[in-house]
Symmetry: C2
Subunit: 412 residues, 2 copies
Amino acid sequence: MDLEIVAIGNELLLGFTVDTNGAELGRALAAIGVRVTRRTTVGDDPSSIRAAVDEALRRTRLVLTTGGLGPTRDDVSKKVIAELYGWSFRFHDDIWERLVERFRRMGREPAPANRGQAEVPEGAVVLNNRWGTAPGLWFEGTPGIVIMLPGVPGEMRKLLEHEVAPRLAARAGGAVVLSKELRTSSIPESTLATRLADLEDELAPLSLAYLPGVRGVDLRLTAWNLPVDEARNLLERTAARLRAVVGDVVYGEDGVDLAAVLVSRLRERNMTLSLGESCTGGLVGARVTAIAGSSAVFQGGAVCYSNDAKTALLGVSADLIASVGAVSPEVALALARGARERFGTGAAIGVTGIAGPDGGSEDKPVGTVCFAWLLGHQEQEARYVFPGNREEVRERAAQYALHRLLRMAETD
Amino acid sequence: MDLEIVAIGNELLLGFTVDTNGAELGRALAAIGVRVTRRTTVGDDPSSIRAAVDEALRRTRLVLTTGGLGPTRDDVSKKVIAELYGWSFRFHDDIWERLVERFRRMGREPAPANRGQAEVPEGAVVLNNRWGTAPGLWFEGTPGIVIMLPGVPGEMRKLLEHEVAPRLAARAGGAVVLSKELRTSSIPESTLATRLADLEDELAPLSLAYLPGVRGVDLRLTAWNLPVDEARNLLERTAARLRAVVGDVVYGEDGVDLAAVLVSRLRERNMTLSLGESCTGGLVGARVTAIAGSSAVFQGGAVCYSNDAKTALLGVSADLIASVGAVSPEVALALARGARERFGTGAAIGVTGIAGPDGGSEDKPVGTVCFAWLLGHQEQEARYVFPGNREEVRERAAQYALHRLLRMAETD
């Protein structure tokens, strides 16, 4: 089943707003077997909206619009589309009452402009919006089907999930496009590709994409135009085959955060964690504490940016720093040991490096980061040179610090 | 001058990729007086590309395409558009040589599929791409103008800036759409709006938009369809008038980061900074150390997630925690004082709170955060209840912590 999207809003054309709805709709519709064949973005003027919707209906007879439903712009897009169906408007008391009630709960009163939101074309089905003020609308008649959704991403998403997707899935009932991602870290894309080269020839009908990012490379398997059960099974089986080859660098699936995986792994093992951070400046701690429930594991960390702070807070010997330099495996180890002792934890990480843009030397170029990890009786050290700008070096270093500790926790 | 965009790529329709190019093009083109009247997104198949470009040319005679220029998909979109002009292809030795050289620098050799990138329609102008492998193309003839740019955002941006914008600006030479943003924090949108109510009636022909985000509300002034000098002058003058009313909560303009403003303000004053963080878990430190050159100001911080850590690292009295609770202005103050003493700094911030989702009580609901700030002889405390989920509470708390210190540094 083919569908076209018409996104409405001057702010989209002017670039004040990035259209994230388009990608979200594409994925959600593909997953229920609806293929988006074209997306057209137009401004708020009636003639542009009318032309775009009319042309799209002629091509696919199934159109989904986003935006143009706010209280101030409401009338335009609704009116234009009602005209395509030859329908006039009717005031819905129940929509108005829900609106008044919603405003009352927020301690406000609806403005006169809000009344238009309760005006509905006579033949349209109202898609009740419990997450905002503008209801969605479903037009079905001689020109085809037009589904109007609000442009606010949160409201669009909820209406799509609860009102639109079930109705469309019932009609589509065919092949779907589904994907599954395995998240890897600490391995370059080219090395991953080499390790997976033999397997890649046998993946059909699935495709495999490498998606490199600052936190690692995601492997995306996609099943194209298969029945939903077959697609799910194939993705599961093939993901297991990939894991058999590169499982050592896979930390999770489908958007999971590495810090969340580490926190739950340490929690299962009743292991507490502390940090001694220099160049990451609190970023590793911020990653860990972003996870709800991390307080069961994380005791704290010392962010020792200056050399004095390394000595004062974590007892790193000033002589050691003077002899081997602040960016060295020895100081990383001293940071980790100091943190473990101060915070009394079972696991600890020490990180020290040069994030740039200044501070590099021939021996220790910008991007050089030294790590130490302690977990139970294990002790590991590493030195890496990460590519990228200051932000990327820090992100990569934080990710690497967390990933190596996870691998230690899993193999211990 | 009106222009239509045609974005090419199955991944855009399937939602694997969010189209950020569209917004970027919209802003950049508006700033040189080119109005984007429609954006059409199509897949990689020739008939869809041809139809979209042909229709767009008929409407505006000026079309910019993005995507569909990679080595594997090159031929399709280039061929389709060359056909609209009735042009055949010619192999360009110089493009090929640059390509071979580029691959050589990366230690690789071009694949056979790369040869197609050196094939150019005979009438097209090549827009040299120094940032990637696929050159841009400028078609100009009877059907109108088609500008083809690669879809990779970094390459698109560079070609737009260096090759396309200057050519288009020379032709447009008319009214532009420009905007300027003032960034505020620590004030709700409704309070801002009340303070600016009188001024708002006098802003025409500029418009004022309130853009609330987790780090504060940005005020965007936009000049619509004015000559470029007039637009710039009006924006400057009006921004100054806004500052006269709400300058106390404005920390910067046009996307500047609050932490960067604070770091340079402290640096000017030769003031060093340390942190005692609990609920933000390192986030304040990560914000500060994200700024290049922050090491001149930032000495370090203690992330004291557990109560024991507060006592062990920053000397917060265990009795105090037992009597008033870890989330209290008293403990925030003890964290700040402990940090200032440990790190020997002139300024310090203490933050302790309940980020959620658990841990709230009637007295101290989720979102409660207590702060203390020390700067020279100034000492301030505050307690706030921030709305939102765990991530938002932490982001808001970190922003508030930085903003209040900046205001102290500016008024001291």
